[in-house]
């Protein structure tokens, strides 16, 4: 049979409607790559601040204790976060325009709520730990809560994002067991994994 039957096109349209209304397809893979690069640059600066001249692969036996340094690190993290979010908004709205989709639609709102809930809870949790002087758990907690956010949001995104979420959680738990490698795990989770997944998503969905 050359043309597809009405029944086949009915089945196809079911799938299209399910995906189009529940998934946010405009997220740009390229913005993931940029976020990963900013994270690596940020991690390199943090390394110069707290670990240099020891090798970046060496295990730190003492965690940062100076409040002054913590404030500088928080500032650095905020800059990385703002640059990353800026790139995501910029490239995503560009992609949405190209796809003729609206950036701020239902699926975008769902995505944001599902992603933000665990991350927001995690962010406050981390700030409370910082205020109480538990500096060593920041990197593992960032990774674990970010991973939970991704898994929570993956029904509204590409399915592959769930595996990125699982990877972040595993890295976070490893990092909790080996706190001296915190910066290294953080760089892998937020830098390298973002670049790898960003490239994969870009090749699969951005064109």
């Amino acid at each position: 049979m050359s043309s597809e039957s009405k029944f086949e096109s009915d089945i196809a349209s079911i799938r299209t409607m399910m995906e189009r209304t529940s998934k946010f397809i405009s997220l740009s893979g390229l913005s993931g790559v940029l976020a990963g690069i900013y994270a690596l640059i940020g991690a390199a600066i943090a390394y110069l601040m707290i670990q240099y001249p020891n090798s970046p692969l060496s295990y730190r036996t003492d965690s940062v204790q100076s409040f002054d340094v913590i404030v500088k690190l928080l500032f650095l993290a905020a800059v990385v976060l703002i640059l990353s979010l800026g790139s995501v908004f910029w490239l995503t709205s560009r992609k949405a325009k190209r796809l003729g989709a609206s950036v701020w639609d239902r699926s975008a709102r769902l995505l944001l709520i599902n992603l933000a809930t665990p991350i927001f809870a995690g962010g406050i949790f981390i700030l409370i730990l910082l205020a109480n002087g538990h500096y060593g758990v920041v990197a593992p907690a960032c990774l674990v809560f970010y991973g939970l956010g991704l898994i929570n949001a993956s029904p509204n995104l590409y399915d592959e994002i769930r595996y990125l979420g699982y990877s972040e959680i595993v890295l976070g738990l490893l990092s909790a067991a080996l706190p001296g490698y915190g910066l290294l795990f953080w760089s892998i989770g937020f830098g390298i994994l973002h670049i790898v997944y960003g490239v994969l998503m870009h090749r699969k969905y951005d064109r």
């Binding site: 049979m1 039957s5 009405k6 029944f7 086949e8 096109s9 009915d10 089945i11 349209s13 079911i14 799938r15 409607m17 399910m18 189009r20 209304t21 529940s22 639609d105 239902r106």
Partner: protein, 100 residues
């Protein structure tokens, strides 16, 4: 052998109605204007299809006001969920038969 064509749901043989239920299967609720945008329909035509689904009690209508503007939201009912599943099974059986 039973004929899968007999198992097709009369109401859902209309593609637009099937699409509306597909949307409501994966989304807890959906409002009228969003449905109109996604399906690219006019007010009148969407309203007709909604009425048909409402008559069969496949969807639950929830009328609220947002900023004093009426906002009608739709939700799939358990009956609608079962009808959708049955219809989809019949569609798959037919396609399978045609491929033979």
């Amino acid at each position: 052998m039973s004929n899968p064509f007999d198992k097709l749901d009369k109401t859902l043989e209309h593609s637009v109605r099937l699409q509306i239920l597909s949307i409501l299967i994966v989304n807890d609720f959906f409002d009228f204007s969003s449905l109109k945008d996604v399906l690219n329909l006019t007010d009148g035509s969407l309203a007709t299809h909604i009425k048909a689904l409402e008559r069969e009690k496949y969807i639950i209508v929830n009328k609220t006001f947002v900023d004093r503007k009426p906002n009608t939201r739709y939700k799939i009912s358990e009956k609608g969920r079962q009808a959708f599943k049955k219809h989809l099974d019949a569609l798959e059986a037919i396609v399978k038969q045609q491929r033979k």
